[in-house]
């Protein structure tokens, strides 16, 4: 990116940014990573009712090819360490949707001894989706929110690339 970064800050880079963001947002491949109850709704979101693939979001089995990780369900302490590893395996730019109360903040399992209260303790989260579990449309809305966020990113404009990567 260093070469492109030397391009002066111009309208054209902003436009180009928009095109790049557009490709990114139109092809959000999410990792097949279900943890608990929300995983069923995640499956159903990929199913005929909500059909996340309309927005170009296809499931991938491996973190290496995914752009987005949907933390669907309760994150236990035992699993939290693995989740971190999986997140690290994803190539940049990567996004995280925290789906449901449990991964937002522990939800109803805050009382538990073995649950990591909130996935944001382990990895950064971009969008939180409420619900226990969120219905497929709610997750779709979460994806749309994430797309909005993606469109606002500036990769080519000086300095912000490093900022966004951080």
């Amino acid at each position: 990116m260093s070469l492109i970064n030397s391009v002066p800050e111009m309208v054209i880079t902003t436009k180009l940014d928009e095109v790049l963001n557009w490709t990114r947002k139109s092809s959000v491949w999410y990792m097949l990573f279900g943890l608990a109850c929300c995983a069923i709704e995640l499956m159903q979101t990929g199913g005929p009712r909500a059909d996340l693939e309309r927005f170009g979001a296809a499931p991938r089995a491996t973190p290496r090819q995914s752009d987005m990780m949907i933390i669907a369900g309760t994150l236990t302490l035992k699993m939290a360490l693995r989740t971190k590893v999986l997140y690290d395996q994803m190539p940049d730019p990567k996004y995280v949707i925290s789906m449901g109360s449990c991964s937002n903040c522990g939800g109803l399992f805050q009382l538990a001894y073995s649950v990591c209260d909130g996935v944001d303790k382990v990895i950064p989260v971009d969008v939180y989706v409420p619900g226990c579990p969120p219905r497929p449309e709610a997750l779709t809305e979460g994806l749309l929110k994430l797309q909005e966020k993606m469109m606002q990113e500036r990769w080519l404009v000086k300095g912000s690339a490093a900022q966004a990567a951080a």
Partner: protein, 164 residues
Amino acid sequence: MSPTEIHQRLQDQHTDAITSFEAAPLDPFVLVKPDSIVEVCRFLHDDPDLAFDCLTNMSGVDFLKEDYIQVVLHLYSYTHRHAIVIKADVSREEPSMPSVEAIWKAANWLEREIYDLLGVVFTGHPDLRRLLMPEDWIGHPLRKDFVEPEEYHGISTRRESLLK
């Protein structure tokens, strides 16, 4: 066979092993000395009139005030369609009792779970490791005096409510 009859039959064979029998509760149970649990269970499993071929449930209950851990076995016979509850009390300080894994394979994981969550050591168990909690977890969470650790591998287990 009714629980009373089952107890009678058990009493005839293993008098020393049985501490008491309660017929009044919802699920009548036989309280057994932990050391002789294997012979009692072996008899219950092998005797053709009893034929308890299935261990449906096995749980541990930590009685903090009374200072013992109770291991509860729910037995069921598919052959005769009758059930009985076997209980055994072990001390809280050094909880230990023989394993019934050799009789019912189902006990393998159930015992591991009780070991994991309550710390009861089942002697003679082929593979007594933690089942649910991570290997490096400290303490047995289902004990009544278990204190939740502050953090695990750098992940804090507390979370302040945003409402407070």
